[in-house]
Amino acid sequence: MSGAPYSLYKLKRTPFHERIAPLCLPQNWRRWSGYITVGSYDLGIDREYWAIRDAAALIDVSPLMKYLLEGPDAARLLDRIITRDIRKLAIGQVYYTGWCDEEGKLLDDGTVTRLGEQSFRLTAAEPSLRWLSMNAVGMQVRVTEVTEQMAALSLQGPKSRAILNRCCETSLDGLRFFRMAENRLQGTPVSISRTGYTGDLGFEIWMDAADALPVWDALMAAGNDYGITPCGILAMDMARVEAGLFMLDVDYTAANHAWIASQKSSPFEMGLGWTVALDKPGYFVGRRALEREAREGPAWKLVGIEVDWEGLEKVYGSVGLPPQIPGAAVRGSLPVMREGKQVGYASTSTWSPVLKKYIALVHLERPHYEPGTRVEIEITAEHKRRYAPGTVVTLPFYDPPWKKK
């Protein structure tokens, strides 16, 4: 049963598989863009979560879609696609951005790194080669997908910088938030960006797939005394909600995947108004629709709610139980009500161990998304539908001072 015909009939393994597989004690594997990736290394996710928030978590993020854009028109292509102003992106700087269809609805979100005057790296959640090529008609730009050639690790947590400084040729002390620099990690060439998906101090390390294992080993060795902990995507999922970061297919639907108009979201609706550079010159995809929306204000907005603990106690108390808290982030839609009428929904909710609060990313209709608005979120307690009160807050929920310091 082995051999060529079946090699395509299984999920891909990341370049770190040899290292992560023996560590994945519960065999808790998840799927990510056709790869298998670790859900959690431990039977519970506490330790991995706290590594993100108090030590350092090492997360294999190789399945991210990665593209190299090179040529005299590379900047022009990106400027046409993304909502941010590419002219302001310095070499060695990273943008977080969304990109839209003609109607100003989000297709995807990711990062753009300026590697040089004419070369960029784009990361995306969804395959984007076709969209990039369609927009590159007549331009002098080469778009190469490097998802498989490039391995990526995310090192997140307050101790991440100290660990990198132990094994990198150039100190990371000078690397600012959302900047990238080439470096050598125990002799292996890597590029390191001060980015991540946790809202903590953190870095992402990009390397040739062939160098993956030595880089993993060097980081684990350097991090041993700092509590480095291999971390799966379940713990990261809790952290990203605390950081107010959303996820494609969980918190919004790509405009080109949506079946109905109401499934689509604009950057403004997702709280990405700050990434829409309407002051940049010329055309970009979705510009007209976004200009209109900027004038009128978004019909929806992604915000946070903090659920009142006393309210949760009451809900569960009504069936004779203490509050039941899920052990991981819940990816499921929950209606959000105000004065008996539905005004939106939660797309991801989680217990936040660091804040000791139950929090949710919610989509609320205008005007209910103003901070301080009191709403109620649906909770099912012992098979009974109940509502727990909460307050609308701005994102992120958790923003430690050392994130940008």
Partner: protein
């Protein structure tokens, strides 16, 4: 010399004093907290005894800190982080070990290895204890009513208690009555057969008491320690970031943000009484502070016998406080280590280092340790509850190095001939050699050690008798009897003087309800 006037003065910046002050300030009162030491925390403190190595000097873990206090004072925003402490490993004399991991199936299979019968019993036992704790827990947040009083407040309180009682099944009520009177040893003998399991479980029945696991009343103490484990997401024992001092710092930060003034190195000499009311305090440096209300958040002996002359209090009350049992029975050995202790039962660096390591091979072992203490000696082979804080929070020691916290019982306050340096050294030696039997490299690894006897606890933190709970958690010292009959509602016989510390209801541990409830009572009386 007079210096300032306040709505309320709180004596003692332990966790309870700080919490009380924060609640008073939250209600708009002008509050000052007076602390004799140069740092906040009392017995809830982290100190860097050796440069780079931070010791949780006295208390070392947390589970009972009340969730409503965490929320009301926004402690997470002020820096409180509670890191998981996932397991307990008990090394055995035959080279094997008993572990309780943070996974139900792993733990069941581990116990099954030793006793298939106990593996099943432990599940049922946990459920029964959790239900008993759930039933009794509301009492922790109730101001104890005086059962002999006919005042509306006490009657309402008794009614509320009655409701808690009525919500229990008959079986539960019997179970609780039994738990109140039984010894931990008898309780565990009813359930289990495997000695290390019984020994380890019995340990939480004796912590902070001057009792052995075979003494009646210890089953309740065991239950007391179970309370923290039933509060949903707040449950379970954990290690506070930066040690327990991190908790005190978070509370102090919150209190200061609410406008509380915290004065360090401000030792209170006397509570000033005028016209039959407490009206302020006199400090050792001669300063006098005035306030409408004075609350003591230190141990009962100092609060009533030292700060006040007996003439200000009724005789029977003074007598009750004199009789209040505060004999310290435990010590601490804090170690700075150049390497992790390697346990022969589980070699290598592993999950055991991230949890508790309990030296409690059997109930008899602990009872024998108690025998030593009963007759005025420290235990030659003590019960030790140790954790390695630097494995949980890397900021506790320099990279690659570690600190180890060993809670040790028994070490009697009233040791024969009194504590001196030689006895302290010998006590430390008994602890280290006990550990050494299971982790032979420990001696080589030690680069600094701090041995704390109950006398040291008294000298450093000020707690009379060096009892970490300000008074043993004995049935006759709990609830409406704590600290004295008729005065368990945080008021005292002296008008304007309140009491809210571990020596008050609901007892010791980093719980905070004492200070919180006391502050709320002060506010009820405010005119």
């Amino acid at each position: 010399m007079s210096a300032g006037s306040y709505d309320a003065i709180v004596i003692g910046a332990g966790h309870n004093g700080l919490i009380a002050a924060a609640y008073l300030a939250r209600a708009g009162k002008k509050v000052v907290v007076l602390e004799r030491n140069d740092r906040v925390g009392g017995a809830t403190v982290t100190r860097e005894i050796f440069p780079g190595y931070r010791f949780t000097e006295f208390s070392y873990v947390v589970s009972l800190l009340r969730p409503d206090i965490i929320r009301d004072l926004e402690l997470p925003r002020h820096g409180l982080k509670i890191l998981p402490l996932p397991s307990t490993v008990t090394p055995m004399d035959n080279g094997d070990y008993l572990a309780a991991w943070d996974d139900h199936d792993l733990t069941r299979r581990e116990i099954y290895r030793h006793s298939p019968r106990d593996a099943e019993a432990v599940d049922e036992y946990s459920r029964v204890m959790a239900r008993a704790a759930k039933a009794i827990k509301p009492i922790l947040s109730v101001v104890p009513p005086d059962p002999s009083s006919m005042s509306w407040r006490d009657l309402a309180g008794l009614l509320k208690l009655g409701k808690i009682g009525a919500s229990m099944s008959e079986q539960e009520r019997y179970r609780i009555a039994k738990l109140m009177t039984q010894s931990a040893g008898d309780l565990l003998d009813e359930w289990f057969e495997f000695d290390p399991l019984k020994g380890t479980k019995s340990a939480s029945g004796i912590i902070g008491t001057f009792l052995g696991p075979r003494s009646p009343g210890t089953a309740y103490v065991l239950l007391h320690h179970y309370m923290g484990e039933i509060d949903g997401a707040f449950r379970a024992w954990g290690f506070a970031k930066n040690g327990t001092g991190g908790i005190a710092e978070a509370i102090a930060t919150s209190a200061r943000a609410l406008g509380v003034e915290v004065r360090l190195s401000a030792s209170v000499e006397k509570v000033i009484v005028q016209g039959g009311r407490a009206t302020g305090v006199a400090l050792a440096n001669g300063d006098e502070l005035r306030a409408k209300v004075v609350m003591s958040a230190v141990d009962p002996k100092r609060s009533f016998l030292q700060f006040l002359e007996p003439k200000h209090l009724p005789d029977d009350f003074v007598q009750a406080i004199r009789n209040f049992r505060v004999r310290g029975s435990s010590g601490k050995v804090n170690l700075a280590l150049s390497e992790l202790p390697q346990f022969t039962c589980l070699p290598g660096d592993g999950p055991l280092h991230r949890g508790a390591i309990s030296f409690s091979p059997s109930i008899d072992y602990i009872e024998r340790a108690y025998d030593d203490a009963k007759y005025g000696r420290f235990a030659q082979q003590p019960y030790i509850d140790s954790i390695i804080p630097s494995m949980i929070d890397r900021d506790m020691a320099p990279p690659g190095h570690h600190v180890m916290s060993c809670f040790v019982q028994y070490a009697p306050y009233d040791i024969e001939g009194g504590w001196d340096d030689a006895k302290r050294d010998a006590f430390g030696e008994a602890v280290i050699s006990t550990i050494e039997r299971h982790a032979p490299n420990i001696r080589r690894a030690i680069i600094g050690k701090q041995v704390i006897t109950p006398k040291d606890i008294e000298d450093i933190s000020g707690i009379t008798g060096g009892n970490i709970f300000h008074g043993e958690l004995l049935l006759h010292q709990l609830f409406f009897l704590r600290p004295a009959p008729q005065w368990a509602d945080f008021r005292t016989p002296l008008p304007g003087y309140y009491y809210g510390a571990s020596g008050a209801h609901p007892g010791g541990g980093i719980m905070g309800a004492n200070g919180q409830l006391a502050a709320l009572e002060v506010l009820k009386d405010w005119r």
